[in-house]
Symmetry: C2
Subunit: 206 residues, 2 copies
DNA sequence: CTGTGTGAAGGCTTTCACAGCC
DNA sequence: GGCTGTGAAAGCCTTCACACAG
């Protein structure tokens, strides 16, 4: 099974399953049915089973799935087996909040450095991640072979910074800037646009 | 055309189109072709045209779309014509960053209050939004008829807080907590899970 | 008998091809 | 001639129905 055969939405749900599995493991549960796992992840059992068959057979008929085994399998598929170094670009309001946010490390990512045009701007003192001038960015990416970047710069410079990231060797960008990034084939961008998410919701309220 | 006939993805893209249109208007452009607008929004021209036909005919054949007119039409469809009051629950790391983030107000939302279990926690002094104890939350929602909420509480209490929000009358939740929310029919949840977005990207890096 | 694995059906979204209007 | 509007086709993803293993 080649990577590109697995639907993007399935990949996304694999992360959800893995979260639930980790919680189950912590609570000492050894096996779980597709029914239970799917409900906890907010999907239908058939969906879960179909998702899993994309990369193998992991269950035992009549019994369910081994919590630990399935979790390890998913971790492998997602490429999360090793710690991924990540950089953050744009240490403004949102950027600094993310630097202090613990959620990334818990899931196996380490933000190894942040970059900003203004290194000396006033920021909370408890940030452990070094904040470097953006002139050093490309060199840093090359040296450390950084492949993942979080982009929290203003919208009007987002494309330009993205270009620099890609030129340095970054392969995937988590973009929080309110801008549509145009990138070469092979580069992956996930955009999270907070204002648009809210707008989207406001359509559904009466 | 009933609301539910418009695909969710189309609704999402309408916000993107509107952003581009506002930029075009600011730069004094009067009309735009589906080709140009679609490229700027990162979609195919046919996609854009199909999206628009879900709620009317807005273009002039041989010419394109009136920038101002189309923008107003989209704003109307999205229900953004009036300012929507929003509350934020969970004034921790991420929550306070969002309170100081200017992106919401610019798009027509006003965060009217924030709620937290610990009102006296140390926070930046430049936050304008009042931070209230969560015991006052339900009453506030009822009084002000708040329909939109941003949820930035820890994952283990997210479901419980969501239940309270819904009981008070909130109809849509923008959820940043790493948890799958189970809600009654008619309530809409958009979840933004930062760690999962990163995991998702890591699958695509070689 | 319980619960997974999976081909086939169904539903939703995107893309195409071209008709229709300025 | 240029560009929008749209039915039809294609593609993708989800759900179903049931075979099959423990």
């Amino acid at each position: 099974m080649h990577k590109s055969d697995i639907p993007r939405k399935t990949i996304y749900r694999l992360s959800l399953y893995n979260r639930v599995l980790q919680r189950l493991r912590d609570s000492g549960q050894g096996t779980v049915s597709s029914q239970a796992l799917a409900t906890a992840a907010g999907v239908k059992p058939t969906q879960l089973r179909k998702d899993l068959t994309y990369f193998g057979q992991w269950g035992t008929r009549g019994l369910g799935y081994n919590v630990d085994g399935l979790s390890k399998a998913i971790t492998g598929v997602l490429g999360m087996a090793k710690l991924q170094p990540v950089i953050l670009v744009g240490a403004g309001q949102l950027g600094t909040a993310l630097l202090r946010y613990g959620g990334f490390a818990k899931e196996g990512f380490e933000v190894v450095a942040a970059f900003d045009a203004d290194v000396d701007r006033k920021r909370p003192r408890d940030i452990k991640v070094p904040i470097l001038p953006d002139t050093q960015m490309t060199a840093f990416i090359r040296e450390r072979s950084v492949k993942l970047a979080i982009l929290t710069v203003p919208g009007n410079v987002a494309q330009q910074v993205a270009n620099e990231l890609i030129a340095g060797g970054v392969q995937a960008i988590l973009n929080f800037a309110p801008a549509v990034l145009h990138v070469p084939e092979g580069i992956v961008v996930n955009s999270v646009d907070l204002a648009i998410e809210l707008e989207n919701l406001s359509y559904f309220v009466k």
